[in-house]
Amino acid sequence: MSKVISFMEKLGASSELKQLTESEVLELLKSECDLEASLFHSDVAHMLGARSNMVCGLVAAEEHDPEVEAEAAA
């Protein structure tokens, strides 16, 4: 599976590979990773056992804790 990650990394870092069409990328994935795979995100994520539901917020509009405040008020 690390081959697929390495492939993704190479794809992300290469100006040459960035020019390839989706079918050309798929061909390259098959030849480099020896895998019959699709480029659908969910398929790649499933193949790698990656989390599918990612949350990415890192900031809040206000710094208060509504749950803590509700408990304190009760």
Binding site: M1, S2, I5, M8, E9, K10, L11, G12, A13, L17, K18, V25, L39, H41, V44, A45, L48, G49, A50, R51, S52, M54, V55, C56, G57, L58, V59, A60, A61, E62, E63, H64, D65, P66, E67, V68
Partner: protein, 266 residues
């Protein structure tokens, strides 16, 4: 100075494309890496860089205030710093842009006497500027977290760009939702309508997190926002709707200054 340390690094937005050599080196050399990125595949990528990579994802829970989640994340990071380890927090994009956790982890580590600093990354804003072909310097630019923009009375300059982050959770005071529905967005639209015509064209933007993914650039009128698809990754970009007016009084004052100096010199 204590033996533990903390470095918060940015992984950039797109796997393989954006991480700096220095950030990667910090990840590879760390005793423990805490990771928070926007894609499960990117998380797997970071896992390949170090033997001890711990995801911060399990701290999120729908129905739990994100502020509690953020404090738990900081506590988990600091526990390893206090244990004397070389700790790295690897965060998607830039670790200091709209990111309470890295800023507070660094602040608290320093207060406890540990070495702590931040290494920048390519942020969603950086990608947005490149992908949309906009220059914040041409008209000026205002950035707000969307809910904060709604909760507080702000003065908006409609001659400048307005960028609203985390529009997918617009108006959620509980901080416990991962998305808010169209009723919340109708209130946002009502607020925006105080400044912009409802037909004003805006952009929903999402940077690509994987090299196999397209960037989302969706043009729509403000009136269509309530029914648009959004989540925590979505950013709302509102181009200027008016032209900036010259400040004639100030310009006259500056011209007077130049004239008075020329008079002294001659």
């Amino acid at each position: 100075m204590q033996t533990g340390s903390l470095v918060c690094v940015g992984t950039g937005m797109t796997l393989g494309s954006h991480i700096s050599p220095l950030s990667r080196s910090y990840i590879e050399q760390a005793d423990v890496v805490f990771v928070l990125v926007a894609d499960g595949i990117t998380e797997k990528w970071i896992e390949q860089m170090n033997a001890d990579v711990r995801s911060l994802q399990p701290y999120y829970l729908e129905g739990k205030s994100r502020m509690i989640t953020y404090r738990e994340m900081v506590a988990a990071i600091l526990a390893e710093v206090k244990a004397g380890k070389k700790v790295v927090g690897a965060f998607y994009g830039h670790p200091g842009v709209f990111a309470w956790v890295p800023h507070n982890a660094i602040k608290q580590a320093r207060e406890l006497g540990f070495k702590a600093h931040m290494e920048p990354g390519i942020s969603a804003e950086d990608c947005l500027i490149a992908d949309l072909g906009i220059d914040p310097g041409s008209s000026g630019c205002q950035h707000f977290e969307t809910s904060q923009f709604m909760f507080y009375k702000r003065t908006i300059d409609t001659a400048a760009l307005l960028v609203l982050w985390q529009v997918g959770v617009a108006g959620d005071r509980s901080l416990a939702k991962f998305t808010t529905d169209s009723e919340y967005r109708k209130i946002l639209v009502k607020l925006l309508a105080q400044y912009y015509p409802l037909h004003h064209e805006v952009i929903l933007y999402e940077a690509a997190t994987l090299p196999i993914q397209p960037t989302r650039i969706e043009y729509l009128p403000i009136s269509a926002l309530p029914d648009a698809t959004m989540d925590l990754k979505t950013t709302l970009v509102i181009p200027p709707s008016t032209k900036a007016e010259l400040n004639d009084e100030l310009i006259a004052e500056l011209e007077q200054l130049v004239k008075s100096r020329e008079a002294v010199e001659s």
